[in-house]
């Protein structure tokens, strides 16, 4: 039976990008459906009624939502080039760091540092630096979080490799200092330049424009309160 695989995404979603990378690493063919989140398609709402978000992967008509859940599904369904380690302990660690990336690193950098200013931004920066230090320590003796090659955690944290420079440019401050985080900075470069990854970044100028607008709107809203 021919596989029918559709990925609902937006051009800029870092969460959807993880799925693009995973499918390309596995060499799996799929169809892309771009969504406009200000005008969600009936299909998206039908496939992800709970969160109404992208990405959603639809495999032979059956939807899977939540990017980390989708990544595990992809890894279990197409078993070549495994993303998660075999060993249960290593798998638990991989899941832990991926979730840490979303819950703590992304939250503190994006919602804390990027979308704030002044004292609130300073406080968020302290927290973000603590989180980045954990990632720095995790990279000791490794090229990628997955070891010698890209794995689950690298895909989950991959947004750092290009979004950090976007955030830094728009917000006008340094977040990942190469002197403080040499391993993390090296990983960001290595990851960004890797085959497959480097061919799939969204256009930088569009990202700058989008996040500039987002930051301006958020700061204006905060100031008017």
């Amino acid at each position: 039976m021919a596989e029918e695989l559709k990925l609902f995404r937006t051009w800029s979603s870092v969460f959807a990008l993880r799925i693009v990378w995973a499918l390309k690493i596995k060499g799996v063919e799929y169809e892309t459906i771009f969504e406009d989140l200000s005008n969600k398609s009936p299909s998206l709402l039908q496939y992800n009624p709970v969160h109404k978000k992208v990405p959603v992967l639809v495999h032979n008509g059956k939807p899977i939502a939540e990017s980390l859940v989708i990544l595990e599904y992809i890894d279990e369904t197409w078993r070549e080039t495994p993303l998660l380690p075999e060993d249960p302990y290593e798998r638990a660690m991989a899941r832990f760091w991926a979730k840490f990336g979303d819950d703590k690193v992304l939250t503190s950098i994006f919602w804390g540092v990027f979308l704030k200013e002044g004292k609130e931004q300073e406080e968020a920066m302290v927290e973000a630096m603590e989180h980045l230090q954990f990632l720095e320590d995790e990279l000791k003796g490794k090229t990628f979080f997955g070891g010698e090659r890209i794995g689950f955690v690298d895909l989950a944290l991959g947004w750092l490799a290009n979004m950090i420079s976007i955030f830094e440019e728009v917000a006008g401050l340094k977040m990942v200092d190469e002197d403080k985080f040499p391993l993390l900075a090296a990983w960001m470069q290595e990851f960004a330049d890797s085959p497959i990854i480097k061919d799939n970044w969204p256009p930088r100028d569009k990202l700058i424009a989008k996040f500039q607008a987002l930051r301006d709107a958020k700061l204006a809203a905060a100031a008017s309160k």
Binding site: V50, H59, K62, I64, A65, E66, L68, V69, I70, E72, Y73, E76, T77, P88, Y89, R91, A92, R95, F96, K99, F100, K104, F134
Partner: protein, 245 residues
């Protein structure tokens, strides 16, 4: 000389034929008796019939071991298996399911069903802070409009779960599994929500209540959940500390 070497070689043969005795697994659980997250792990360990050492943490004075074993979040539960820590309750449950995979599997074997189970467990995880820290606090510690708003929203959340459960015996279908483990600890808090909120979970969500009772009939669940009256007493104590009573 010959006799000695005969004895030596037969000793070597008998040592070689001895079955190697596997070192017993050392499992320690750092936990807090009322923790929703901790209860999930206790259920999983009980489902697998595992012996472990339970260590109660004082969350207002965390042990050095906890801070060492979970330096990132400094939270319970932490499972320490042969000296190696695993943190985050759903990850611990998956770890337990993968290591002791021959007994009472909690996740289905089909990748699509596993994805659904993980999706729902993740949904519960996203809801738990709201259920306890936002809505719970409104119901237990406030009065008037805020109290009513908290109660209304809490019941709406329960109704959502009720809808998802439908007529199924368990969230995953016929068998008790990962999603049930993720949510069922909330059931030992129902009595507390009901008494401060002045409503009945059974009236509002009969299927959910039936599910909670069904899960509670399992030894692994009943031995792992906190006593509902003790939970109520805990919230009473917190109210006193906050100067509400």
């Amino acid at each position: 000389m010959l006799k000695n070497s005969f004895l030596c070689s037969s000793s070597r043969v008998s040592i070689a034929s001895l079955t190697v005795v596997a070192m017993a697994d050392e499992i320690i659980l750092l936990d807090f008796w009322a923790s929703h997250f901790g209860m999930r792990v206790r259920i999983a360990l009980a489902e697998k019939g595992l012996k472990y050492e339970y260590r109660e943490e004082n969350l207002w004075n965390k042990s050095r071991l906890l801070l060492e074993m979970n330096p990132v979040h400094k939270k319970v539960p932490v499972l320490i298996h042969n000296g190696k820590p695993i943190c985050e309750s759903l990850m611990i449950v998956q770890y337990i399911d993968e290591v002791w995979k021959d007994k009472s599997p909690l996740l289905p074997s089909d990748p699509y069903q596993r994805a659904q189970a993980r999706f729902w467990a993740d949904y519960v995880d996203k809801k738990v802070p709201q259920l306890y820290h936002e809505l719970g606090k409104k119901i237990w510690y406030t009065k008037g409009e805020e109290h009513e708003a908290g109660k209304k929203e809490f019941i709406e959340c329960l109704k959502f779960f009720e809808g998802e459960l439908g007529e199924k015996p368990y969230f995953g279908g016929e068998n008790f599994g990962f999603e049930d483990v993720a949510l069922v600890p909330l059931s030992c808090w129902f009595y507390t929500y009901e008494s401060f909120g002045n409503f009945s979970v059974e009236d509002e969500c009969p299927n959910l209540m039936a599910w909670a009772k069904r899960c509670g009939q399992k030894e692994s669940v009943s031995s792992s959940l906190a006593d509902p009256h003790k939970v109520h007493g805990f919230v009473m104590e917190m109210r006193k500390r906050l100067g509400i009573d």
